[in-house]
C-alpha cells in the first residue's frame, strides 16, 4: 500500500509514492536517482547516508520517507550550486580528504552542519563531530585537515564579502585539446 510523500529535495518540491516502511535513503537513491548518498551499514553507524534535513546533518537511513514529509532535504548533489564547488568540497579535494570516496558525501554533509554551528572548530571538536561517520581509507587525518581548511575559507569569505564564496570551478574531465596545425 503505497503512500504519497512530498519533500523539498535540493530546493525543488518532489512528490513520490512510497511504501510506508521505505527509508528516506532508499527513496533518495531508488526513486529520485540521487545515488550520491550511500548506504554503508544497516545500524546507523557509518554515516555514509548523511544528508541535511532542514539544514541539520541527518542519517537518511534512520528516517522513514514519510517522516520527511514537508521537510527540506539537501544531498551531496545539491551542494555544488551552478557548477561551483562548496568550500568543503574544494577542501576535501585540496587536502586529499578522500580515497575511495564512498564515505565522502556523508562526511561533507556532516561537516556542513558542524561549520554552521561552530565556524572555528578545533581538531578535537572536528574529530568529535565525526563520531558518526566512518572512513576506512584515509585514517581521518586529511579529513580533519580539510574541514579545518574549509572553516578557514568560510570564515574569510564571510568576513570579507557578503557575496557567496568563489570556490574553484569543477575541473572538466578532459582538458582542452591542444591546438593542432599541420
Amino acid at each position: 500500500m503505497k503512500r504519497s510523500v512530498t519533500l523539498t529535495i535540493n530546493g525543488a518540491a518532489r512528490t513520490v509514492e512510497v511504501e510506508p516502511r521505505a527509508l528516506l535513503v532508499h527513496v533518495l537513491r531508488d526513486d529520485l536517482n540521487l545515488t550520491g548518498t550511500h548506504i554503508g551499514c544497516d545500524t546507523s553507524q557509518c554515516g555514509a547516508c548523511t544528508v541535511l534535513m532542514d539544514g541539520r546533518a541527518t542519517k537518511s537511513c534512520t528516517v522513514l520517507a514519510l517522516q520527511a514529509e514537508g521537510h527540506a532535504i539537501t544531498t551531496i548533489e545539491g551542494l555544488a550550486a551552478a557548477n561551483q564547488l562548496h568550500p568543503l568540497q574544494t577542501a576535501f579535494w585540496e587536502k586529499h580528504g578522500l580515497q575511495c570516496g564512498f564515505c565522502t558525501p556523508g562526511f561533507i554533509m556532516t561537516a556542513v552542519d558542524l561549520l554552521e554551528a561552530n565556524p572555528d572548530p578545533t581538531d578535537e571538536q572536528i574529530r568529535h563531530a565525526l563520531e558518526g561517520n566512518y572512513c576506512r581509507c584515509t585514517g581521518y587525518q586529511n579529513i580533519v585537515a580539510a574541514i579545518r581548511a574549509a572553516a578557514d575559507a568560510l570564515r574569510q569569505t564571510r568576513a570579507s564579502a557578503p557575496a557567496r564564496p568563489s570556490p574553484a570551478l569543477i575541473a572538466p574531465s578532459v582538458g582542452q585539446p591542444a591546438a593542432a596545425g599541420v
Partner: protein, 795 residues
C-alpha cells in the same frame, strides 16, 4: 617544463567523488531491473534436513527461487585459484548454495529474485529450512586436533595443507644457541570492512549470448575468467565492469558465489538482476583476514646476533578455500620471515585449517603483517632476554646496505634496501633521549609511558609471472596498458589494474603527461571494464604502481618513439638529431622550428603525410612483467601512555619512516600511509571478529565490530628515505600496505614497554582496555620496585 613525477597534484578522480556523481555498483540501474536476496545459514555447522521454498515462490513479486539442489548440476563450484604446490593442499567442493550441509554462519542456502528489493527480502522469511546442528569450531589450532568436528569428508583433522619453509639448519642453530625465546601468539580474525558493501548487477542478452556483470571487484579480469569457468560460458561472452569501487583492502579480490548466482539468474530470467549485501551480510559472507595461532621462537648469541627463527602456525582458512586463501599464510607469509634481518636458519610449518568460520583470504598486508608481527614481537623478547638494547639488536641484524640484491634463508631475493637510515630518521624524529627522561619521570608519578618500534620489509609488486606459476597461482602477474592518442593530442590510457581509492588515475596521468610533455588534464586513465582494457591482474598486494605503472611508462615510450619518427619526417630531419623538450620535437640546435606532440598526434591520426612504412594511428600497448618483486621497508615508532587502573591506551605519537622508492605523487603516498597505519592500529587496539564456541558470529554489525573512529585515532607523522628498485623503469615500490604491515607490531611493542615495570612482555592483540587490565592483574597488578607488596602479594 617541470616534471610531474614527484609533484603532489590534486587527484583527478576527486571531482566526481565529492559531488555525488560517481557510479558505484549499487548505483547501476537498468530497464527491467530485478532484485536478489540471499538466505544465509544461521548455524555454523548443520545438516539441512528440510528446505521448502514453495511459499516463497508464490509470494507477490517473486520471480524465481533457487536452492543448492537446483544449481549443483548447473554451476562449476567456486574455484580456489591459488593451489600452493608441495603441500598436499586439499580443496573440497565449494557450492554456490549449500546443499545437505552448511559450514559457516553466512553460508548461502537459497536465492530469491523479485521485482523489488523489499519483495526479495520479504520472501526470504517465507523459506522454511530445518537444520540439524552439528558440532562446530572456529579456533584453527583446536580444529586441527584429532577429535575436532570435521567439515569436509576428505580432509582429515580439517588440515587443508601442511606447508614448510626452510633454509639453513634451524634445528642445529637452536641446539647451539646461547639465547632462546619463544611465544605463543594469536593473530585475531579481522573483517576488512570496505565502506562500500559488495554488490553485483548482471544483464544477459539472449540474442548475442553476452553476459555483462557489474561487480565490486579489485580485479575484473580475474572475475571474468572465474565467472566464465563457473557459468561454463566462453570467456569472450562475459564482460565484467568494476565501476567505482568503494574500498577493498583485499575483500574484493575473491570471486564470490553471490556474483555468479546473480549472473545465472539474469540468464534464466532474461532480465537484469541486482544484489547488494547489507553490512550484517558483509560481516558474515565477505572474507575475513588473519586468524593465526602461532608458536614462534628465535635464537642467537648473547651479543645479539640472531641465528634462527622457527614457527608453527595454525592458519584458519574458514569453511572453504577462498580465491587466493591458501597463498596468504604460505607464500606471502613464510617467505618473508627474515624481514629486514640476516637470519641464516629459518624453519616454518604452516597448517592451513578449515574451520566453521567465514572464509579467510587477503586482507591489507595479507600474510606480511602476520610475519612482521611475530618477527618483531620476537625481536623485543630477544632484547629483553639477551639484555641487548632492542634498537641496537635491530641494527646488529639488519641486512647490510652493500649486500643487495640479497637472498634470504627462505630463498627469495630482495631487490634493494638500506634499512639503517630509516631507523635513524625515525629515532631522530622521536628524540629518544627526551622521551626516556619523560618516561622515567612519569613512572615516579605512577604514570606509564612506553615507546615501541618495528622495522619491516614487505614483498609486493607481484611479480614475475613465472614465479606466480611456480608457486601455484592460477594466473599471471604482469600488468598492462594501452595508450591511445586522439587526433587533438589528448590521451586515454586503458589499464589492466583496477584502482579503488589509491589514486592511479592521477599518478599514471602524471607518468604519461611527463612522457608527452602535455598537461596532466589531457590524459585520462580508464580502468575496470574488461571490454576496453587489456588483460591485467588487478589491484592488490601493492602492485599497481610498480607493475601496471611500469606498463603505462613503457607503452607511453613506445608511442613517443613512433611520434618521433613522424616528427623527423615532418621536419625533414634525422631521427637521431631530434630532441624532445617541453612537449615539442625539434632539431637539436634549432629549437625554434619544431613539431608539438599535438601536431604529430594529428598527423598520425589523419595520416596525410607519414614516413614510408609507418602505419596510421598513434597508440601502443605494453605488458610489463617484472623481473622480481619489490621490497619496500621502513621503521615505525610510537609512544603511548597506558592507564594501569583501566587498561586504556592513549597513543601519544606515531611516526613512520617508509621507503617505497621515489614518489610519483607524495600527497597520495602520504595518504596511503596514514590510512594504512590507522587500519593497523585498529587491528592492534580494537578490531576482532568474535565467534562463540558454537561458531555463532557475535561481531556481526558495525555496532559490534570496532572500526576506528576519528576521535579514537592519532595523527600520523610521516617521513621517507628513497631507495629505488632496480626491477622496474620507474624505480618505485608499492605503498598501499606499508602503513598497515608494521603498525600492530609497533603499538604492541610500545604498550609492552610501558608495562615493563609490571613484568609484562607480551599481550595478544587487540589490546582492548579489558585485555590490558587483565594482563596487568595476571602479572600481579603492581609495578616492580614500587611501594607496596610487589608482584606476589597482589593475588
Amino acid at each position: 617544463m617541470a616534471t610531474l613525477f614527484g609533484s603532489g597534484i590534486k587527484r583527478r578522480e576527486d571531482p566526481r567523488l565529492i559531488t555525488g556523481a560517481a557510479t558505484y555498483t549499487d548505483d547501476v540501474k537498468l530497464p527491467g531491473l530485478t532484485y536478489a536476496a540471499i538466505l544465509r545459514s544461521p548455524y555454523a555447522h548443520a545438516t539441512i534436513t528440510r528446505l521448502d521454498v514453495a511459499a516463497a515462490r508464490r509470494a507477490p513479486g517473486v520471480l524465481a527461487v533457487y536452492t543448492g539442489a537446483d544449481l549443483k548440476e548447473r554451476l562449476v563450484p567456486v574455484p580456489c585459484a591459488w593451489n600452493v604446490p608441495n603441500c598436499d593442499l586439499k580443496v573440497p567442493p565449494h557450492p554456490q548454495l549449500a546443499y545437505e550441509r552448511v559450514r559457516y554462519v553466512g553460508d548461502g542456502v537459497a536465492l530469491v529474485v523479485a521485482e523489488t528489493r523489499a519483495a526479495a527480502r520479504d520472501a526470504l522469511d517465507l523459506i522454511d529450512v530445518e537444520y540439524e546442528p552439528l558440532p562446530a569450531g572456529v579456533d584453527p589450532e583446536k580444529m586441527a586436533k584429532p577429535g575436532a568436528p570435521t567439515l569436509h569428508a576428505d580432509v582429515p583433522n580439517n588440515i587443508a595443507f601442511t606447508w614448510i619453509v626452510a633454509g639453513g639448519d634451524a634445528e642445529r642453530a637452536f641446539a647451539e644457541a646461547e639465547v632462546r625465546v619463544k611465544q605463543r601468539i594469536v593473530q585475531q580474525r579481522l573483517a576488512p570492512t570496505a565502506m562500500e558493501p559488495r554488490a553485483a548487477v548482471a544483464s544477459y542478452n539472449r540474442g548475442t549470448g553476452q553476459l555483462t556483470l557489474w561487480a565490486t571487484s579489485q580485479n575484473p579480469h580475474i572475475h571474468r575468467f572465474l565467472c566464465s569457468v563457473m557459468l561454463q560460458l566462453p570467456e569472450h561472452r562475459v564482460r565484467v565492469i568494476a565501476p567505482e569501487v568503494g574500498g577493498g583492502f583485499g575483500s574484493k579480490i575473491p570471486v564470490y558465489a553471490d556474483e555468479v548466482l546473480v549472473a545465472l539468474a539474469a540468464m534464466d530470467l532474461g532480465r537484469p538482476v541486482k544484489w547488494t549485501e547489507d553490512r550484517s551480510e558483509n560481516y558474515k559472507a565477505t572474507i575475513h583476514g588473519r586468524d593465526h595461532v602461532e608458536y614462534v621462537e628465535m635464537c642467537g648469541t648473547r651479543a645479539g646476533k640472531i641465528t634462527g627463527l622457527r614457527t608453527t602456525v595454525y592458519a584458519g582458512l574458514g569453511a572453504y578455500a577462498s580465491t587466493v586463501g591458501p597463498g596468504i599464510p604460505t607464500i606471502l607469509h613464510g617467505l618473508i620471515y627474515s624481514g629486514p634481518y640476516a637470519i641464516p636458519n629459518i624453519h616454518g610449518t604452516v597448517y592451513g585449517v578449515y574451520t566453521n568460520g567465514t572464509p579467510v583470504d587477503a586482507y591489507r598486508g595479507a600474510g606480511r603483517p602476520e610475519a612482521t608481527y611475530l618477527l618483531e614481537r620476537l625481536m623485543d623478547l630477544y632484547a629483553l632476554e639477551s639484555g641487548v638494547d632492542r634498537i641496537e639488536l635491530r641494527r646488529r641484524n639488519f641486512i647490510p646496505a652493500d649486500k643487495f640484491p640479497y637472498t634470504v634463508a627462505t630463498g627469495i631475493t630482495y631487490d634493494s634496501g638500506n634499512y639503517e637510515p630509516a631507523l635513524d630518521k625515525a629515532l631522530a624524529m622521536l628524540d629518544l633521549g627526551a622521551f626516556r627522561a619523560e618516561q622515567e619521570k612519569a613512572r615516579t608519578q605512577g604514570r606509564y609511558l612506553g615507546m615501541g618500534l618495528a622495522s619491516y620489509v614487505e614483498i609486493c609488486g607481484s611479480g614475475p609471472s613465472q614465479v606466480a606459476g611456480a608457486v601455484g597461482l592460477g594466473g599471471g602477474q604482469y600488468d598492462s596498458a594501452l595508450v591511445r592518442v586522439y587526433p587533438t593530442g589528448v590521451v586515454r590510457v586503458y589499464i589492466g589494474g583496477k584502482p579503488h581509492g589509491q589514486g592511479e588515475e592521477t599518478t599514471f596521468a602524471q607518468i604519461v603527461a611527463d612522457e608527452f610533455g602535455c598537461p596532466v588534464e589531457n590524459v585520462e586513465i580508464v580502468a575496470g571494464d574488461t571490454e576496453t582494457t587489456p588483460q591485467g591482474w588487478g589491484t592488490y598486494g601493492s602492485r599497481t604502481t610498480p607493475v601496471c605503472g611500469s606498463a603505462v611508462k613503457v607503452a607511453a615510450q613506445r608511442v613517443k618513439e613512433k611520434a618521433k619518427k613522424i616528427a623527423a619526417h615532418l621536419l625533414e630531419a634525422n631521427e637521431a638529431d631530434l630532441e624532445f623538450k617541453d612537449g615539442k620535437f625539434s632539431v637539436r640546435g634549432s629549437p625554434g622550428e619544431g613539431k608539438s606532440f599535438a601536431e604529430v598526434a594529428l598527423m598520425a591520426n589523419v595520416a596525410w603525410n607519414l614516413p614510408p612504412g609507418v602505419e596510421p594511428g598513434l597508440e601502443a600497448s605494453a605488458f610489463f612483467d617484472p623481473s622480481n618483486f619489490v621490497f619496500p621497508f621502513g621503521t615505525h615508532i610510537c609512544t603511548v601512555e597506558v592507564n594501569p587502573d583501566t587498561g586504556e591506551i592513549k597513543v601519544l605519537r606515531y611516526l613512520c619512516v617508509d621507503d617505497c622508492g621515489p614518489h610519483i605523487n607524495p600527497m597520495i603516498v602520504q595518504g596511503q600511509l596514514q590510512g594504512g597505519v590507522i587500519q593497523g592500529l585498529g587491528e592492534a587496539l580494537q578490531e576482532i571478529v568474535v565467534y562463540d564456541d558454537d561458531g555463532q558470529l557475535l561481531s556481526g554489525t558495525m555496532m559490534d565490530y570496532a572500526v576506528p573512529k576519528a576521535s579514537q585515532v592519532p595523527s600520523i607523522e610521516t617521513a621517507h628515505t628513497v631507495t629505488p628498485s632496480p626491477v622496474n623503469p620507474l624505480g618505485v615500490k608499492g605503498t598501499g600496505e606499508a602503513g598497515t604491515i608494521p603498525a600492530a607490531a609497533t603499538l604492541v611493542s610500545a604498550v609492552c614497554d610501558a608495562l615493563a615495570p609490571f613484568g609484562i612482555r607480551h599481550i595478544d592483540k587487540p589490546l582492548t582496555p579489558a585485555r590490558v587490565w587483565a594482563a596487568i592483574q595476571a602479572a600481579g597488578g603492581t609495578p616492580n620496585g614500587a611501594s607496596g607488596n610487589g608482584k606476589e602479594a597482589a593475588r
